[in-house]
Subunit: 245 residues, 2 copies
């Protein structure tokens, strides 16, 4: 009997994976995923069979994974970050209803909100919201509404997909919404290529973030009203008394 493991790769390559995810990859025969993610593990697992489809063909990928598991294979469906945060865990479970029963497990990984917050120091230490600025699958109105409510609630915010080729102004529009409620000096951070060799980070106030161009490999962090810069770090205090007494 086959089995389908939906695996979050975490940030970067194999060193960011959990041991559980690594062992699931070791035990599988076929790895299915977006080409870029497959390339991150190919060297460590040269003997596997690989199957990929280009961007926007996620559902074909999910179907292939389910069908091969049903045919008896041990299959890994690989996602970047966490499979349950804008990943493939949901679609594959929804799809699986159309097929005969098949064993599925979801193995989580470190999502960019957590990995990027660590690069910045402690960007999200308190209550936070995760919002994608991609309007491919979500109406822009709903994205705006969520930005506005998260700002009103003084949540720390992690923004996924802050830019795309077609809509370069998403981050600027998001910042304008946040600036209705939040101070222009709110401490923000951007992290690019988290966990990879090209990793870069920058801490800057919200008013400057508005006019900063970012690419699709960037995760953006908005601090809450208490967030501060400590040396090179972005830190959101949680309310501990730090005094010795």
């Amino acid at each position: 009997m086959g089995k389908l493991s939906v695996i979050g790769l975490g940030p970067g390559g194999v060193s960011g994976m959990t041991r559980q995810a690594f062992e699931a990859l070791q035990g599988c025969e076929l790895v299915v995923g977006y080409p870029v993610y497959l390339d991150l593990i190919r060297e460590d697992f040269p003997e596997k069979e690989y199957f990929s489809t280009p961007m926007k063909q996620e559902i074909e990928r999910c179907r292939k994974a389910v069908e091969e598991a049903l045919a008896g294979k041990q299959v890994a469906l690989l996602c970047s970050g966490d499979a349950g945060v804008y990943g493939m865990a949901g679609p594959v479970l929804e799809l699986s209803e159309e097929y005969p029963p098949v064993e599925i497990e979801v193995i989580s990984g470190v999502t960019a909100a957590c990995a990027g917050a660590a690069v910045l120091g402690g960007a999200l230490m308190h209550d936070f919201a995760v919002i994608s600025l991609s309007d491919l699958l979500t109406p822009w109105d709903l994205i705006e509404k969520r930005l506005s409510l998260a700002a009103q609630g003084d949540f720390c915010i992690a923004l996924y997909n802050p830019s795309s080729r077609k809509r370069k102004d998403h981050l600027k529009r998001a910042c304008d919404i946040l600036l209705r409620t939040r101070e222009p000096e709110t401490v923000c951070g951007i992290v690019r290529q988290i966990g990879r060799e090209e990793q870069e980070k920058r801490i800057l106030p919200l008013k400057d973030l508005r006019d900063t161009e970012v690419d699709m490999f960037t995760t953006v962090f908005i601090g809450n009203s208490q967030t501060k810069q400590v040396g090179e770090w972005m830190v959101t205090p949680r309310g501990y008394h730090l005094g010795k007494g």
Copy 2:
């Protein structure tokens, strides 16, 4: 020169850690943390020196970690889940300002929101908010405000610290706030002892969650208006068209 690695253990024990976190533990001499978390790794790292303080003495723990690193030791400060989500990354970076410069790195782990969502299937697939119901360090008014705004925004919500010995009614009060905006049939989930042997999960509507007793080892998930139960799974759709055509 010593170094301080602030490490997120992920859910459960060593198998939920990232390889990077595991290697940082291997390379350290002293492991500092809350006793329960130290016990999760002691067997895999029997040769280390350990230092712990009881609950509510987190800051003493952080000071010890910084001071030992300054004295030249390789120190690991261990947190459950992710060190940057209600963990020690923030406090230790804030504290470090009082001391001479010391090398610090933060290594993220899988936080309970992601690990629990995976146990449930795909509970958080869309925009989500993470809110702690603990009012030890946060005024209850602010927690209520955030619950209300997250509900209005139709965010998926992960609730940390849903119960404590002193305030058993936090979850009920939170549900009452959510029920002002969200349907009583909203699909919710609870996961207990994520990643450990005693792991348990349950899917239930918001109106039943209100009257459910949970303990401090539980993470609670509130779906958005689209979240559904698919077989044994809790799944929030992201908007993909699943059809073959």
